[in-house]
Amino acid sequence: MGRRSLLLLLTWLTCVTANSFAASDKPQQVLDLHYGEVLFHFYQKDYFTAITHLMVAQEEGLLQHHRHESELLLGGLQLSYGMLDAAESQFHRLLDSDTDSALHDRVWYYLTKINYQRGHYQKAYTDLQSIGKPRDKALRAELALLNANINMGLGNNAKAAEALKKVRAPEGWEEYLKINRGIALLRAGDIEAGRRVLDKLGKKRASTKELRALRDRANLGLGYELLRAGDPEKAREYLNRVRLQGPFVQAALLGAGWADAERGDYESALTPWMKLWQVAGHQPAAQEAHLALPYALAQMGDGKRAVYYYEQALGYYDAEQQQIEQAIEAANSGTLISLLSQADTGTSGGWLNDNPTLEGVPSGRYLVDLLSGNHFQEGLKDYRDLGYLATLLQQWLSNIELYYDMVDARRLAYQQRAPRIRERLEKQEARDLQSRWQRYEAQLDAAGQANDPLQLATGKEKQQWALLEKVRQKLTALPDEPRYNTMRAKADWLRGVLYWQMQSDYKIRLWEIRKQLAKLEPSLLDTVEKHQHIDSALESAKAGFDGYDARIEAMRARILALLPRIEAARGNKGQNLQHLALDELETRKRRLISYRSQARYALARSYDQLARTAKDQP
């Protein structure tokens, strides 16, 4: 099995396994709502939004209870979003601070992973030594897997197999650990031990689509390894286990045919190869089957059918070559780039799940096939991320115009309304009312202390009292005669009655007025408070537009500076992908040309054989 193929398989496995060391699957206890909000986006793999929310919450000091975790999470998010450099600096910053041992281990885990992803295996290995032994089974398994991958990267395959041997696999991990161990053993040259491990895995019942694919892959890999090692009998056994409905069926059919052919059983080889021949796809296995099938027939001595199928193969290769040339032309003319644009989904991050549509694209299946390939996906991810960033900034740019309008409207409204409001406020109406109320209250207190009913007399009573006072003064000046004495007595009686009336109502009046004043007090205080509110609101309303112009303009300038750089980077990325695609298409074309020339050569030989046979016959 090719060294690079194994490495790729391992990378794939690392990607698909759950990253339990970094983020537990158990529900998190959230003590700051905003931290929970970051997790909400993180768990949905919307890394861009998660990072933005995290940065905002940090800036606004809203992560008091998750300070260290949020720093670690930020690094993890940056790593997931492809910002390896930023993630590395973030993790180193965390190591500098006063961190506990659990956090320390997680940080070293991430740093190890970054170096592993970069292909700096030696550095990754050194970093790995700084991680303490975790208690959790799942974490130990994850570390062992990382350890094994690094060791394989360093070429220490035996060490890698050893690292995986001792680990007890938690639920859901067994298959991943086994396939990695099997591969490590094969690469270390211990074919028998590797076979035993992969054999067990290949026979296991798989409950999920992912595990079934993994099982197929183990059987396929083992089958080809045994074929290479010269054991076609066993190879056939493993290749037979690959599901016909699975994604690896074509490779398995081709290998099965070669296993039969290696044993000299060309008749048996015809069955899988014929199946592949009928598929007539553009995958390398199907292409190779067009050459393998007549080869088997020729070996069986069926020259006529061999000639027929070699001729068919030549026609097929010509047609496929034409298709590839069209695909190359389409890639050169920018069709690939427009297919790439179809991959824009308007969301940040993530892999391309759906292939772009092929309507009207010449030889589109070749191009889409290339885009789906693992080595294109990384580049395509960057291309899509850049597309998302450009769209996002365009949206912000149109929002910026709205913000300007909003601020202008606020400023205008303030300029129109503020003078009138200020004028009313300056009249201090509420304050005057409050002073009057206070005066009344003081008067009432004084009246209460003086116990003088006249102070609470009604207007009419006051008039009557003044009139009686006047009458009394006049009567006092009159001579002492019975007629005047009677009048004086009557006036005194009237004064007495009036005074008695006022005196008897005095307490009720005092209580009534106190009640009225008390009733007035809350509304009066409310009015004063509102007055103050309006006063401060008038001041703070200015904050709704003051200073925003400069802030908005600065943002606009930053957007305008970034947009062309993003477009240029996206253009470069597209070109880069195009070059990769063209290289890949050229490789496929060369392979087709090679198949074709082999088919032509074999056809000529078959014609010769037929001619000789015809001549030999009487």
Binding site: S5, D25, K26, L33, F40, R228, D382, Y403, L562
Partner: protein, 174 residues
Amino acid sequence: MRRLISGLLAGLLVWPLLLPAEPAASGETGLKDNVQTLKKQVLELNRDLFMLEEDLLFPSNTQVSVFVSLDVGDFFQLDSVQVKIDGKEVADYLYTQRELDALVRGGVQRIHVGNLRTGEHELVAFFTGKGPHGRDYKRGATTKIKKGLGPKYVELKIVDQTKNYQPEFDIKEW
């Protein structure tokens, strides 16, 4: 002919597990760095724009945010949440499986952000979902929230009631 077999096999053995890309060209590394730098700068700008927008649209003295979180067992599956403030519907949200998974793992969703003047307001919330045996659930809760000068955060937590194991709202003001 033997050479034909080995020639074909040599090709075969490499491709079945998918060929890796050619080693990255030197220009590729530079491009990658550039993409990283751009991502970093856009994220910083996005943060600042986000804060500007919040300051403009939802100033802290009037801002009210409503969050939804989940703390329920395996037997309840949330479908939707509806929120009304002072009789006006401010959110009606249908959840995707991906969002539900995020909530179950401890994620908190900001379902509404808006403005309210200081004082007391009525918040009414409903949620719908499916319980054991696909039984439909709809529960509601009403609460008075007091808006002060700073931003107001309200958490609508859907929890299992210990007494009857049925999900209910637990409303918390932060």
